[in-house]
């Protein structure tokens, strides 16, 4: 390999990223298990599994099933809860040589605000990613992320309680994702990330039962990449904040497609399950791509779709 020339760094809503590759929420837990298998110092960063105010046990098994070029999961936001996260997970995360984005959720508007406020004192969090794809218990269990008003209310609650960059994570399970993106940006989001998983289902014909304990689950992996690309492209045109592209990124080429479509950075999710070092390998291949093509700054590719 020749000498590296390309500059892969990205300023993402004020967060300085070494390179545009982060590990996605729920696909790297809180980082520790990956320490022997990957090198966080060579990644742009990682996003923690969603933290909720109370601990959650999660959904009954079966929680995973492979589908064509993808998989369904029904984890049910299993997490230790805010208090245990601050005491146990955060100190270990803070030790990593990486930008750590903490992903938070709540089940009422107020809970979103409380989550942001409670994390404000922790030094070292790069940004908050807000998972608004959860049921709003004050509105009959409707998902916050599916209506502009509720999505905006959750983001506004976080915005008013934090100085940190706020990234709103959007669900693809909506009619018009650009409308939701505009609503969360108007509510104060500094950036958006998309897509979360698509609702899907698997059925065992012999048993005539759903395969997953949660009946439906979230579809991820290469199968969803074209959907994610179209949505990133649409949202990047609708808002003037940075976009984080997520959905089926398995190779440097996939990551580049998202950047060309308008994403300033990308997250690697499901790909880490088959290859725990996938993120780092994608970064290596991005260097190789830029060096071969004489691209000095990867940032110049963002939104370069002709």
């Amino acid at each position: 390999m020749g000498q590296r020339m390309a500059d892969l760094s990205i300023d993402f809503a004020g967060v300085q990223l070494r390179n545009p590759v982060l590990l996605a929420s729920g696909t790297c837990n809180y980082g520790q298990e990956l320490l022997p298998l990957t090198d966080f110092a060579r990644l742009g960063g990682l996003v923690t599994k969603t933290i909720t105010p109370q601990p959650r046990g999660g959904n009954p098994p079966q929680r995973i099933v492979e589908t064509p070029a993808g998989m369904l999961n029904s984890i049910g936001l299993q997490n230790p809860g805010l208090e245990a996260f601050v005491e146990k997970q955060w100190p270990l995360l803070a030790d990593l040589d990486a930008q750590v984005v903490v992903n938070i959720a709540g089940f009422t508007v107020e809970e979103f605000g409380q989550m942001a406020a409670s994390l404000e004192a922790l030094a070292g969090i790069a940004a908050l990613e807000v998972n608004i794809s959860c049921p709003n218990v004050e509105a009959g269990g409707d998902n916050f992320a599916t209506r502009p008003q509720t999505a905006a209310a959750a983001i506004a609650a976080v915005r008013s309680r934090t100085q940190r960059p706020v990234i709103a994570k959007l669900t693809p399970n909506v009619t018009d994702i650009a409308e939701i993106a505009r609503a969360v940006v108007d509510a104060g989001a500094d950036a958006v990330s998309l897509i979360n998983t698509l609702v899907g289902m698997a059925i065992d014909v012999e048993q005539r039962r759903p395969v997953l304990g949660g009946i439906t689950g979230g579809l991820s992996g290469p199968a969803i990449k074209p959907v994610a690309l179209a949505m990133v492209w649409k949202v990047a045109q609708a808002v003037d904040v940075p976009v984080m592209g997520i959905g089926g990124i398995t190779s440097a080429r996939d990551a580049l497609e998202f950047m060309v479509a308008g994403a300033s950075a990308g997250q690697v999710g499901t790909a880490s399950f088959a290859n725990p070092n996938a993120g780092v390998e994608i970064v290596e291949d991005l260097y190789a791509y830029c060096d071969e093509r004489g691209i000095d700054r990867i940032a110049s590719l963002v939104g370069s779709l002709r």
Partner: protein, 270 residues
């Protein structure tokens, strides 16, 4: 946690759709214990997407070789059965909780089903080397879903088979064999691997007979290294929705568990 490029040495059919693969994986071979598994990547991460978790059925530390025994049942295992010698297969070993030996002199009974015997074969062989008396009880639907005596015999001083259709050995369930074993020979330590219902029945028999029982669980896995929280098994100590410790991760907290730790069904005594 080790991820190494294992080299496939051989991969042969040993019964109807059952394959025995030998892999050169020196780093894993020196550490792997009975009850532990390896997670083998057979595709390039698109289709098949996930790795195949397989229990190790034997290991030769000096030669750096591990063995897996698997049934070609779907896309991943069928793809693996087509891989030829010398192929490099990324193989990950979480090296977590393997099976634990009983106190010296305890008689050991291994209870398995068709293709769920691999961890018991490795375990039986190891225990016999340490002078434990072992019996291996195996159930299967039909005679052709049983592994050959040549593969089973090294793991036990006595092998007893059962088939649902009576085409080989006892006509009935492997749990009948276990009941006989307990009635005739009394106290022992039981190790079990099989489908959920069978393990639940074995766990119940052992609880009733007050003999220790360890199980090697096989939950559906996405990562095999603890990052997806997908391979959840409910613990007997589970305390409701807000109990983060309600479920264990089979891949890193197991795959071997004391049967009493597991909540086998809603009616299971806790």
């Amino acid at each position: 946690m080790i991820d190494e490029q294992a080299r496939l040495l051989s991969n042969r059919e040993v019964a109807a759709d059952f394959y025995l693969a030998r892999l050169n994986a020196p780093h894993i071979a020196v550490r792997i214990e009975p009850g532990q598994f390896v997670n083998i990547q057979v595709g390039a991460g698109v289709a098949p997407l996930l790795r195949v978790p397989l229990s190790v059925s034997g290991a030769d530390r000096e030669a750096g070789i591990i063995e897996v025994l698997y049934e070609a049942v779907g896309p991943k295992t069928r793809a693996l059965s087509q891989v030829g010698p010398d192929a490099a297969l990324p193989t990950l070993s979480p090296s977590r909780q393997g099976l634990a030996a009983p106190s010296e002199g305890t008689r050991v009974v291994l209870v398995g089903c068709g293709i769920c015997v691999p961890p018991l074969l490795y375990w039986g062989l190891k225990l016999r080397q340490r002078s434990y008396q072992t019996a291996l009880l195996v159930g299967a639907r039909t005679a052709d879903k049983h592994l050959s005596n040549e593969l089973l015999a090294p793991a036990a001083d006595a092998v007893h088979l059962a088939t649902d259709d009576g085409s080989l050995g006892h006509a009935g369930l492997v749990t009948d064999l276990l009941q006989n074993e307990l009635a005739e020979k009394g106290p022992c330590a039981v190790y079990c691997c099989g489908p959920h219902g069978m393990m639940q029945a074995v766990a119940a028999i052992c609880l009733e007979a007050q003999v220790p029982c360890q199980v090697s669980l096989e939950e559906y896995m996405a990562c095999g290294i603890g990052i997806c929280v997908g391979c959840a098994v409910e613990l007997a100590t589970a305390k409701g929705d807000t109990d983060y410790g309600r479920y264990a991760r089979v891949c890193v907290d197991g795959p071997a568990f004391d049967a009493r730790q597991i909540k086998w069904g809603n009616a299971w005594p806790t």
